[in-house]
C-alpha cells in the first residue's frame, strides 16, 4: 500500500516537473498542441457532415411508419404504383386509421429546377404530390409559416431546408411548375428530416400538371405500432395482385444515405489519418526534446532512487495531457465552427438536393479526443522509453 503510494508520488512529482517546465519549451509545445487540435478539428468537422446527413435521413422516418415501392426499385425515383395498388396497400392489415380512414398517403414525385440563393444557378428540387394523410404518416411535421395548401388547388408548401437554399421559396413567393406559376402558401419543418428539402403539393393536382394519370410512385403509411410492420409486410408480399417492396421508413432513409455516408466517412478517416501521422511526428519531436532538455534532471532523479517505470509513466502522462489538451481545443473549435452549420448536398440516390445541418455529436467529440489520445500515446512512448533507458552515470556527465 505504502509502496504503491510511494510510486504514485514519484510519478506525480516527475510529471509535475515536466509540466512546470512547459513554459520554457512553449514554442514546440504550442505547435504540438495545435497540430493535434488541427487533426481533431478536421476529423470531427468532416465526420460531423456524415453525422448530420445521417441524422437528417434518420429523422425522416420512424419505425412505426412504412414506405411501399414497386418491387425491384431502389428509390422512389424509379418506382411506380397504380391506383389499384395504392388502395390495396391502404387497406392492408396493420395500417393505422382515424375517422377519415387509413393513415396512408400515396405520393408521386417530380424534379423541378430552381435557382439557388447562394449562386443563382439552377439545381434540382423534389416536388412531391401528397394525399391528406401525408402529415400523419411522418413524424414532427409542422407548418411553421403561412398555411397548408388547399386540396385541389395549384398551391405548394415548402420545407424549411428548401426555403433556405432556393430563391422564391418563401411564403408569398412562387414556383414555376411546367408552364404555370404556383404560389407558396406555407413553410414546414419535419424535425430535420429529408422532407424539409422538398416542396409539396396535392398529389391530384401534380398528377394533372404532369399528365401522370392516376399513377403514383410510393405509399407512405402509419402503422398501428412498430410491431405491426411484419404483419403489414407479409400481407402485401403474399398478395398475388401486388408486386411491391415494403420497408420501414427508417430503413428506407438509412438505405438512401449509405453511399453518401460511406464516401464522407472514408474521406474523414483518410484525412484525419494523414494529419494524425504528421501530428505523431510533432508529438515525438516535442517529447524527444523534452527528454533531451531534461536528461540530467532525469538522471539526477534516478540517482536519488526514483524508478525507471515512474519516469516512463510520468513522461507518458505529460505527452497524454498535451495531446488531450490539443484534442479538447480541436473538439471545442469543431463544435463552435461546425455544429448546426447548414449545408445542402446532392442525394445521389434521388439526384436532388438534401438540406441538412452538420452535427457535432458527443460521440464524435469523444472519438476526436480518442484520436488525440492515440497520438499522445504513440508520440510519447518512444521518448519515454529512451529516457528510462538512459544510463544514469553517462547521463549525469551531460551538461
Amino acid at each position: 500500500m505504502t509502496a504503491l503510494f510511494n510510486w504514485f508520488a514519484q510519478i506525480g512529482s516527475i510529471a509535475r516537473f515536466g509540466l512546470m517546465s512547459i513554459p520554457q519549451r512553449r514554442g514546440a509545445v504550442t505547435a504540438t498542441v495545435f497540430g493535434i487540435a488541427g487533426v481533431v478539428l478536421v476529423f470531427v468537422g468532416v465526420l460531423s457532415i456524415a453525422a448530420g446527413f445521417r441524422r437528417a435521413m434518420a429523422n425522416s422516418g420512424s419505425a412505426d411508419a412504412a414506405i411501399v415501392l414497386r418491387s425491384g426499385s431502389d428509390s422512389e425515383m424509379v418506382s411506380g404504383l397504380g391506383r389499384n395498388d395504392t388502395r390495396l396497400i391502404a387497406d392492408a392489415p396493420g395500417v393505422a386509421r382515424n375517422a377519415a380512414g387509413p393513415l396512408s398517403s400515396a405520393e408521386l414525385f417530380v424534379i423541378i429546377n430552381l435557382p439557388k440563393r447562394s449562386t443563382g444557378t439552377d439545381a434540382n428540387v423534389p416536388l412531391r404530390g401528397v394525399e391528406a394523410a401525408a402529415t400523419s404518416v411522418r413524424d414532427n411535421l409542422r407548418i411553421t409559416a403561412g398555411r397548408m395548401f388547399e386540396w385541389g388547388r395549384n398551391e405548394v408548401i415548402v420545407g424549411a431546408g428548401a426555403a433556405r437554399e432556393f430563391a422564391g421559396l418563401e411564403v408569398g413567393g412562387s414556383v414555376k411548375v411546367g408552364r404555370e406559376t404556383w404560389p407558396v402558401v406555407g413553410e414546414f419543418t419535419a424535425g430535420g428530416g429529408v422532407a424539409e428539402s422538398e416542396v409539396w403539393s396535392d398529389a391530384k393536382v401534380l398528377q394533372a400538371a404532369y399528365n401522370r394519370g392516376d399513377s403514383f410512385q410510393s405509399v407512405y403509411v402509419r402503422l398501428n405500432s412498430a410491431g405491426a410492420f411484419q404483419e403489414f409486410k407479409d400481407a402485401l408480399t403474399a398478395n398475388p395482385q401486388l408486386s411491391v417492396k415494403v420497408l420501414r421508413q427508417s430503413e428506407h432513409f438509412a438505405e438512401q444515405s449509405t453511399a453518401m455516408m460511406k464516401l464522407i466517412t472514408t474521406l474523414g478517416y483518410l484525412i484525419a489519418f494523414l494529419m494524425a501521422v504528421g501530428a505523431v511526428f510533432g508529438a515525438l519531436n516535442t517529447m524527444y526534446s523534452a527528454v533531451a532538455a531534461r536528461t540530467r534532471e532525469i538522471a539526477t532523479l534516478r540517482a536519488l532512487g526514483f524508478g525507471r517505470g515512474a519516469v516512463v509513466i510520468a513522461l507518458m502522462i505529460e505527452s497524454l495531457l498535451l495531446a488531450v489538451g490539443g484534442g479538447i481545443v480541436g473538439a471545442g473549435l469543431a463544435y463552435l465552427a461546425f455544429n448546426n452549420f447548414h449545408a445542402a448536398t446532392i442525394n445521389w440516390q434521388s439526384f436532388s438536393m438534401v438540406a441538412f445541418a452538420f452535427a457535432v455529436t458527443p460521440a464524435l467529440l469523444v472519438q476526436g479526443i480518442f484520436w488525440a489520445t492515440g497520438i499522445g500515446l504513440i508520440g510519447g512512448l518512444l521518448p519515454a522509453l529512451r529516457a528510462a533507458r538512459l544510463p544514469i552515470a553517462a547521463a549525469l556527465r551531460e551538461l
Binding site: T2, N6, F17, M20, R308, L396
Partner: protein, 235 residues
C-alpha cells in the same frame, strides 16, 4: 545513526574491481583490479588527474553503474546482486549524492528540492516537512527555503544540494567535486559543512576533488592514477 558495517569495520568494500567502457569498437580500461575499504565515519578524499576514473569509482560505490569485474559492497549489501529496480530503492535508502553542478530541479523551490528524496520514503507530509527543516537548518539556509535555484548563489545552491543529500540520513554521502564550480570563499563554506557533518554527525563521506585545499579537510586522501589507487600522490 548510520548502519554499522557488517564486517571488519569497513563500511565500503571495493574488491578487485575492473571497469571497461566501450566506445564504438574501442575498449576504454578505466579501473583495473582496484581495492578500497572505507570505514564508517571516515571522510575520504579521492584525488587524481582528469580522466583517471574518480567519478567512475564513485558511481560504482553509489550503485549508479556496475563494475565489469569485481565486487562492491556498502554496509554489507553487495550491489552486484541487486536488480536495477532493487538498486534504485537501495540508493534511495543508503546513498546521498552531491554533484559538482548541484543538479537542482529548476522549477522547484529549495525546500521542494530537499524534499525530493523523502518522496521515496514512507514519511507523512508533516514528517517530511520536519526533515526538510532540519536539513536546511544544518546547511544554514532556513531563510532561503522558498527560493528557486536560479535566485540563489552557487554556494547556496550547493548547500541546498547537500541538504538534499543528507535529508534521508543516508549511510554514505558521495560528493563529486562539490567545490569544483565555486570560488574559494563559497568552497570553504561547503568544506566546513562537510567536515562538520563528518565530525559532529559521524557521516561517512567520500569526496572526489582536484583541489589539495579541499582534500586537506578530509581524514584520509587516496590517489587514483592509471587505474590504481595509492596513498601518495605520484609526481
Amino acid at each position: 545513526m548510520s548502519d554499522q558495517p557488517a564486517t571488519n569495520g569497513a563500511l565500503v568494500r571495493v574488491e578487485g574491481v575492473e571497469k571497461v567502457f566501450h566506445r564504438g569498437t574501442e575498449d576504454i580500461h578505466v579501473l583495473a583490479n582496484l581495492n578500497l575499504q572505507v570505514p564508517a565515519g571516515e571522510f575520504l578524499a579521492l584525488m587524481g588527474p582528469s580522466g583517471s576514473g574518480k567519478s567512475t569509482l564513485l558511481n560504482l560505490i553509489g550503485g549508479l553503474d556496475r563494475p565489469t569485474k569485481g565486487r562492491v559492497s556498502v554496509a554489507g549489501d553487495h550491489i552486484e546482486k541487486l536488480s536495477d529496480h532493487q538498486l534504485a530503492a537501495w540508493r534511495a535508502r543508503h546513498i546521498g549524492f552531491v554533484f559538482q553542478l548541484y543538479n537542482l530541479i529548476p522549477v522547484l523551490t529549495a525546500e521542494r528540492n530537499v524534499e525530493l528524496p523523502l518522496l521515496l520514503t514512507h514519511l507523512t507530509k508533516a514528517e517530511r516537512r520536519k526533515h526538510v527543516e532540519t536539513a536546511l537548518a544544518m546547511v544554514g539556509l532556513t531563510h532561503r527555503a522558498q527560493h528557486y535555484p536560479r535566485t540563489l548563489s552557487g554556494g547556496e545552491q550547493q548547500r541546498v544540494g547537500i541538504a538534499r543529500g543528507i535529508v534521508t540520513d543516508p549511510t554514505l554521502l558521495l560528493c563529486d567535486e562539490p567545490t569544483g564550480d565555486l570560488d574559494r570563499k563559497s568552497g570553504d563554506e561547503i568544506l566546513n559543512l562537510l567536515q562538520a557533518l563528518n565530525r559532529e554527525h559521524g557521516k561517512t563521506i567520500i569526496m572526489v576533488t582536484h583541489d589539495p585545499h579541499a582534500s586537506a579537510r578530509a581524514s584520509r586522501t587516496v590517489y587514483l592514477n592509471k587505474g590504481e589507487l595509492t596513498n601518495t600522490p605520484l609526481a
